[in-house]
Amino acid sequence: MTESFTFDDIDIGYNFEGPKVEVSREMIKEFAMASFDNNPLHWDDEFIAETTFANGKKFDSIIGHGLMTYSYMVRAMTDWLWPDNGDHRRLETRFRSPVYPGDTIQVRVEVRDKKETRKGKWLVCDLSVANQRGEVIATGDGLAEIAR
């Protein structure tokens, strides 16, 4: 949890690092069970070996769920905003590259814009998730509603 802040305390360009996660097969399995998404892309090595996309590309191994990555991005926002600074309202993501077991991924958040509307105070945020090779595997457009 972060210190209390107000809308005026945060400048455009403010940034911080969110969760850093070393992804394992066991974690992917646990997420599959807890989210009820047991697609064989997340556990079946034979299925992965047989699966080729239209561009000829294949996955190297089973992959982590896109929504697992999404959940770490959301957690970066809630760890920053909760309990009293505000609320995570929106996140739009693109999953750009697969997450494989053994990867270590790190979420980063940067405030891109600020806006006051008739009823709210908003921080527009760029989110990114990079793996241990520095490759950006997901990007996001986040929106935080600030309490004060």
Binding site: E30, N55, L67, Y70, H88
Partner: protein, 164 residues
């Protein structure tokens, strides 16, 4: 609401996505705009906490009843990304999101209000559009989740690449 809600039982969930896979709609069969079959489910604290643990998020708002009660939320809530499981809990086994090989390309979700233990979640979901890009087939789907008070808890849209 004409459907009867049930407490969602994780033990009763069919994790075998190969079962009846050939009966699920392929890209050709998806009808943009048609609302898909769904079922209201009641979400327990156990399901919320199991999900939170799976993402390594041990925020006391999900686990510490007294802390949550004293917070502005007034009680335990769930992680905002809980909708990840609603996509499966609220749909039937023949829903196209279960088709083996479905690849999630991106999502956007607006979080209206927190989901709480005991909430009954009702999904209105559909394939909204479908496209072909670089030889691959994609579905664009939108989902609106309401609670038992008919309040929208979250709404959003996603892209999936279809295996067939």
């Amino acid at each position: 609401m004409t459907q009867t809600s049930t407490a969602f039982d994780p033990e009763g969930f069919d994790y075998d996505f190969w079962k009846d896979a050939d009966k699920r709609a392929g890209w050709d069969d998806l009808e943009p705009g048609e609302v898909v079959e769904s079922k209201p489910v009641t979400i327990s604290l156990e399901i919320i906490q199991r999900y939170a643990r799976s993402i390594g998020d041990l925020n006391p708002l999900y686990f510490d009843e007294q802390y949550a009660k004293n917070s502005r939320f007034g009680g335990l809530i769930s992680p905002p990304s809980i909708h990840a499981l609603f996509l499966f809990a609220c749909t039937t086994h023949d829903h196209f999101m279960r088709t083996p090989g479905t690849v999630n390309m991106g999502q956007n979700w607006w979080i209206h209000s927190p989901v709480r233990p005991g909430d009954t979640i009702i999904l209105t979901g559909r394939c909204l559009d479908k496209v072909i890009r670089k030889g691959n087939t994609f579905a664009i789907h939108d989902n609106v989740f309401r609670n038992q008070h008919d309040q929208v808890v979250c709404s959003g849209r996603g892209w999936t690449m279809r295996p067939y």
